[in-house]
Symmetry: C2
Subunit: 166 residues, 2 copies
Amino acid sequence: MSTYTSGSFKAELNEKGWRLTPQRQTILQVFQDLPEGKHLSAEELYSVLQGQGEKISLSTVYRTLKLMARMGILRELELAEGHKHYEINQPYPNHHHHLVCIQCNKTIEFKDNSILKVGLKQTEKAGLHLLDCQLTIHTVCPEALRQGWPSLLPSNWSCLRWHSLP
Amino acid sequence: MSTYTSGSFKAELNEKGWRLTPQRQTILQVFQDLPEGKHLSAEELYSVLQGQGEKISLSTVYRTLKLMARMGILRELELAEGHKHYEINQPYPNHHHHLVCIQCNKTIEFKDNSILKVGLKQTEKAGLHLLDCQLTIHTVCPEALRQGWPSLLPSNWSCLRWHSLP
DNA sequence: ACAATATTGCTACTCATTTTCAAGAACTTT
DNA sequence: AAAGTTCTTGAAAATGAGTAGCAATATTGT
């Protein structure tokens, strides 16, 4: 389910009345060729495509990303950079979460299946249907600290304040 | 630490070379008067202020929200509606997370301190400094399901796919 | 192949948020 | 307490991610 052949991709599209186009195939391929843990923004994907000599318009890139996220093929990430990132949506045992440095935007992914359990529990308790759950950990990296954080006030964040450590 | 007097607010501002202004005081007050679990977007805050007869410009609203998030007074939430929301940043024992219906945008908050433990563990492991961690659970509510989701394709989401349930 | 309709690539547009800049307001220093 | 310095404000213009409208084109079901 995490890898699509052009056949299964077409089948899933057609099932909903959508069509398989070369553009959609190419974009899916880009994501499937991406190394583990790598995610792309719309603009980044557009650059990659241009680098490959593909001439797919930016509108199509945006539309395809949205469609594939809706289909559950891609996961849409909000990582605090002011624009979305997309990655192949890995099912349960490979489901992962992100640490982000809000200064340099570097991200690290990690797996922790207890998160998904919490997601399931809370969703069930609320009588809702689970789509995705994302633990995003906002951090600053050592370099940022050395550069005098937080007096630099780079971009958006919130400091965790503690009454007592857990 | 979760409630500020105008004195402690001023002290924290001045410590960093910033100034206490009536606008900043008023905005802090609005958040402190907000019921538990309520969060506001910039536009919403602007409306609240107008309703109170305060004439604070939208630019100042945006600037103040960003500043207070940077100070750690507010927490900045990315809840999938395409714009940010802010809430008073409750320290550890009151730290909470959100369930969001990606169809109607209704949010429910819940507490689960195991999340923060995961955040601490991962941050330490990566040698970073923890600022905040937010578990955002994307869901659809029963009404959305009844209305034929996901053929409606309302807005952005990703479907969780499972190899096997955890 | 044909008809029906989904998709593409333009361009123009929206909407949240940021920037610019001159005027006004807070601290700091006498 | 007045003066000087520098931060803030408000208004308007600018930015930037993402969307919508539309004519031309491509895919699908028959």
